[in-house]
């Protein structure tokens, strides 16, 4: 039994390792702070960002999560991370059964061509994610002030 447990443990570790491949350490750390030891699975989250961005100073971002949003099964929170911004966190929002739908739209800054990841925490404690690659031609935060 313990051998089976060890085998399962090794498999989970490898999955997490594969998911985190190519992800910068600061981003991994920021995600760990949110999910702890929880396993993040791809799916259920839809991340809507234009694939080509002229101006990284205001990029429309829409996140929606598949969930019935009832009192027993709802989305607790949505977190958005970026790979190459000076700080990986973008936003964390906290929802509940009264939200009706698990959707959010806002405008974000992107410092570089990079991958954006959204992670949703469900009421049952599971985590789901989606990632999108975007190309940014004019980056945010790099210009100097006069």
């Amino acid at each position: 039994m313990s051998a089976l447990g060890a085998l399962l443990g090794a498999f989970t570790f490898r999955f997490a390792d594969a998911a985190a491949r190519g992800m910068p350490a600061v981003m991994q750390e920021a995600i760990r702070k949110v999910v702890g030891d929880g396993e993040v699975r791809p799916g259920r989250v839809k991340l809507d960002v234009p694939p080509l961005i002229d101006n990284g100073n205001a990029v429309p971002l829409a996140v929606s999560v598949e969930s019935p949003m009832t009192t027993v099964d709802y989305v607790k929170s949505i977190h958005v991370f970026t790979e190459k911004n000076p700080q990986p966190n973008v936003i964390s929002v906290y929802l509940g059964p009264r939200s009706g739908r698990a959707i959010l739209t806002t405008r974000i800054r992107l410092a570089d061509t990079q991958t954006i990841t959204a992670i949703a925490e469900m009421s049952d404690g599971s985590y789901w994610s989606a990632s999108v690659s975007v190309v940014v031609t004019l980056a945010a935060c790099l210009e100097e002030l006069n």
């Binding site: 100073n57 205001a58 990029v59 970026t82 911004n85 000076p86 700080q87 966190n89 973008v90 936003i91 964390s92 929002v93 906290y94 929802l95 509940g96 009264r98 939200s99 009706g100 739908r101 959707i103 959010l104 739209t105 806002t106 405008r107 974000i108 800054r109 992107l110 945010a140 935060c141 210009e143 100097e144 002030l145 006069n146």
Partner: protein, 106 residues
């Protein structure tokens, strides 16, 4: 002086999912930019946004410097009863902005 705009439907049927749009005027200075003299411009952002429906919290957000200037949020809630929605933004240097809207639920 703070300026905030909220868009809440003035009336809704009970149980209907309504969309709420908010925008607040704020520079959202990241704290990563420098002047031409190389001096870092200190961070000045909104860090928290909360929406309450008749006193109970229905939406909360934690903001980071990667949110664009003049933060915009669109989210939804279920119209449960007539009353007031209150919106509060809090940020660096003691920044606070508030807004409210009334809704009639039939």
């Amino acid at each position: 002086m703070s300026r905030a705009i909220v868009n809440v439907p003035s009336s809704a049927r009970r149980g209907e999912v309504i969309e709420i749009k908010t925008m607040v005027a704020h520079v959202m200075e990241t704290g990563f930019r420098r002047t031409q003299l190389g001096v870092v411009i200190p961070r000045n952002i909104i860090t928290e946004f909360v929406c309450r429906y008749n006193g109970s919290e229905i939406f909360r957000a934690t903001l980071y410097p990667a949110i664009a200037a003049n933060p915009v949020f669109t989210f939804t809630t279920i119209a449960t009863e007539s009353g007031t929605l209150e919106f509060v933004w809090r940020g660096d240097n003691g920044y606070t902005a508030t807004a409210s809207a009334t809704i009639t639920v039939t």
